[in-house]
Amino acid sequence: MSEPDRPTPEQMLARIKSEGDVDGPDKAKRGRLKVFFGYSAGVGKTYSMLLDARSEHAAGTNVVVGYVEPHGRPETERLLEGLERLPPLEVRYRGTTLSEFDLDAALARKPELILIDELAHTNAPSLRHVKRWQDVEELLAAGINVNTTCNVQHVESLNDVVAQISGVIVRETVPDEVFNRAQELTLIDLPPEDLLERLEQGKVYVPTQAARALENFFRKENLVALRELALRRTAERVHADVQSARLGRARHDVWATRERLLVCVGPSPTSARLVRAAKRLADSLGAEWLAINVESPQAGELSAKDRGRLLAHLRLAERLGAETATVSGEDLVAETIRYAHERNVTKIVVGKSELARGWFRARQSPADRLIRVSDDIDVYVIHGTAEVVPQMNQPEQPAAAFRWWEWIATGLVLAACTIVCLVWDRVGLTEANLVMTYLLGVIFVAFRYGRGPSIVASLVAVGLFDVVFTEPYYTVVVDDTQYFLTFAVMLVAGLSIATLTARVKRQAEFAQRNERRIEALYRLGRKLTGIVGEDFIAAETERAVTEFLGGEAAVFIPRAGQLQPILDHRAKFAADPAEVAVAQWVFDHGQTAGRGTDTLPSAKALYVPLQTPGGTVGVLAVRHSDADRLLLPEFRQILENYSTQVALAIERDRLTLESDNARLQAEAERIRSTLLASISHDLRSPLAAIVGASSGLLHGETAMGEATRRELQVTIFEESDRLSRLVENILRMTQLSSPEKPTIAKEWQPVEELVASALARLGRTLSGRPVEIDLSSEILLAQVDAALVEQVLVNLLDNACRYTPADTLIEIRGWQEGRRTLLEIADHGLGLKPGDENRIFERFQRGEDARSDSRGTGLGLAICRAIMDAHGGRISARNREGGGAVFRLEFLADGPPPRDVETIEAAAEQDSASDRHRTRQ
């Protein structure tokens, strides 16, 4: 039997979402937001918040007052007593000192609960965030619970409604998103009558400078309407909570398919209203929503003012929680529908005036067309009145310059046409041909110089034709009325052609611009795939961004846990610690910030996080003398594309590096395992001998003669000696194969000293063995690491002893050849198997299962080779005539040997002579 009350995963998801843990497990420790919500100043939000805080405090919660405007009200002051208060941050701004909430102090203090008044407050310009609600977001992200206050007119989506009711436009708004994410919404209500009474008693704080403006605000009708708005907003919220609670528990509710809204935004001032309307609709449907701008060829001609407005609308939509996009295409309707289908949009919101722009040729209104082609998508047509949206600072671009040469050229073209026509006329061609000639001229002008000149050219052409070629000649008067038709046709044809060619030209330019953009992106993409190393990727990105967008660019990548600009490049701003701190913030939070945004707007550059599915890998910073240019949809899109490409390139580079490391590690692992196999092989035989001999001594004591016992003891001792040499070899091997460069200390060493210590170490092994040493009569020196070369000699001599009969001679010969020092160790045994001369040095590397009685089975010779390689020297083996093997070592000195001893001697003697001289005095 299934459990009847278990919610479906979708239901669970909805519930989890409503609890604010939208972003997965890492948000589990996100702080809770509680908003004390009211319809006007003076209803007692701050008072209630403080009362609530006091009871929390009494219950043992660690409460800190982050920022509260007391407005000098004694009752508020009384409530503040006994609560820990964060000292406000004093900010100097334009000669006055502003008190602000100290975000960093709060983050450092990290209380359980912090109180922050006035969620909608706008921060002083030098602070990190533009708005206080952004501070609150950061606190919540840091896991601190926040209690705050907010009035209904500050809710972004209600902003215009409030403005309509009260006639006061409130600039300080809080995105609905922030508001909706609050876990608790507490409505602080007071009947308007009581509020007005309090106002009269002077209990409501009204900033003096705004008193006059607010006079209208505190009218009873206003207050009633605002109160209703606040109550409704709260009711909606409660309804949503109930809904979510039911979804979480109940089983029979229908899980509605998700609605998705799309709103078309343009530069028209009505668009802002449209955006808010869409937002409200989306909220009431519980739908997500998108705002798009369709960039058509015409958009290229938008005035700077229009551009600024368009941008402001898109950003408004973003603030209200929409996903925004700019799509390009010739046909607004077709592009909108295409995009809507692509994103599974269920409802489209359009404004009447919006789509009317540039559509005068369409027989139907675009809204009609949209409705006709939208199939299963609902279309909402909203007629909005214009609303003033605060605009971005958009420097006025100079109007298209009056290009006088175009007009001169137009005149010349017409003159040429007239001359040609005069010739045709002389020759006796009909007037139709002359009209054609003029049309040709008009087409030429339209094509070369655009709309204005071409329209003028058509008019002038008609005039010229009239004056010069129709009777009566050289007058404007026309005898034959049928010429009017000719004029009319000529004019219409000329104008049509002019308009058409101008449009084609614009389209071509538009296509070209798009192509350039794509081309640049493609080029960067291609270059980046060929580049290895973060530094080079960064350099290429900086170059490409600078080239395409102008200004300066810098890439920041974390190194050793700290974000830093990759190159010591021209972009000087990147070296500024304050700028690096901005980059660090962007990196940590994965959000765009800096110039032109609402976060850290005082930074010199715009900072875009480089994000990959695996997380933020770096930050791309762009500085432009015209900072707002970077926020134009077009540029922002390019920047986003670039940052995605770069992020992917960096991630690819990291993955390559990782896989390279993994391969190296695998190789090292392979060597290690063959080494281990080889070592255990070498260990086995001496161990077997020791175990055997010692057990014999322990158990067979009585039966054993003194001579046998002695023999076993000698075996144990000698095999232990062999084991110890093996261990030394392993030690050298690890020294040489350490991941860092093998540590080699080369010094000038007399060869005989090396030979002497090797012979001393092999003392027992060599006992009784004739060894002939022939080092040149001069003192033979070699530039080597004594300990390592001694090991080589020990291994070679040990080998010679092991593989030759006990009484045969071992010869050691050394000599000098220029900068080379040579040393040979020869034996009189059976020699090497033919073909083994090179193989014996690399056996262990291949891990071959060689016969245990042949040379080079173990580590010994391989280590000799490794040591000689590390010295930049050589080791070789050959068989000698008359039987036996010869091993030759060649050492190459870096420079000449040290000063001749005689000179030192002489100098020293002089020294001592003067010493003696002095002592005698």
Partner: protein, 235 residues
């Protein structure tokens, strides 16, 4: 016969954490009429050294509670007993550090009983102070040195040494078979401000060997401690 000159039952302090090595050292030393004190940690070792006044200390450099070098440093603040360091091959740098800190000699693990006893004997031998150095001739095998006359003989033949070579030989002889590091030798032979590097020392040693040794590659008197220094053969 050399044993007769030594005080019988000298106490030897072993500071070594591995019981197997301690067992071997104890057995070898007890069997040769020494008294043995065993400490498994540096702290215990220092305690014993203070209260039992051993004649000599054998110190393992790798102890569980403190660095061997620290033990030497602490011991040297109040005691001048000979310290012989026990260390594995390949740790030349550690050995040099230990010698610089005041250790007198070292034994490279693994070592045999013979080597151990020879080192202990050398360490127990009193070092004649430079000031009280006698002019009595020195004899070791064929080698005969007459300090007063600055004369050196190998067998019947007088060997002509340069002043530096002579000083080198005499310095090694005065240390009586104890290890003398490169740095020590340079300082004592060429003076404290010596600018010579160790390879000059090696070259001089090679010259000296050619004059004294019958086979310089298998020296009888002047022994090399690779990477560390030289010593005179003890017997």
């Amino acid at each position: 016969m050399a044993k007769l000159n030594e005080p019988q039952f000298s106490t030897i302090l072993i500071i070594e954490d591995e019981p197997e090595i301690r067992r071997f050292l104890r057995a070898s030393l007890l069997g040769n009429d020494y008294r043995v004190l065993e400490a498994a940690t540096g702290a215990d070792g220092l305690q014993y050294a203070k209260h039992e006044k051993p004649a000599i200390a054998l110190l393992d450099l790798g102890l569980p509670d403190m660095d061997g070098l620290t033990v030497i440093r602490k011991l040297r603040t109040w005691s001048s007993i000979p310290i012989i360091v026990l260390s594995a091959r390949g740790n030349e740098a550690d050995k040099i550090k230990a010698l610089d800190e005041g250790a007198d000699d070292y034994l490279t693990k693994p070592f045999g009983v013979g080597e151990l006893l020879a080192r202990v004997r050398v360490a127990l031998r009193r070092v004649p102070d430079q000031d009280t150095a006698t002019d009595d001739p020195f004899v070791l095998g064929e080698l005969y040195i007459d300090f007063g006359r600055h004369q050196v003989f190998v067998g019947e033949n007088e060997v002509h040494l340069t002043p530096i070579e002579h000083r080198l030989l005499v310095t090694l002889v005065r240390h009586g078979g104890r290890l003398v590091t490169h740095r020590q030798l340079l300082k004592e032979v060429w003076g404290p401000d010596s600018v010579f590097e160790t390879h000059y020392l090696r070259v001089y040693m090679a010259h000296l060997r050619r004059k004294i040794e019958s086979s310089p590659s298998r020296p009888r008197y002047l022994l090399t401690e690779p990477g560390i220094g030289y010593r005179l053969a003890s017997e």
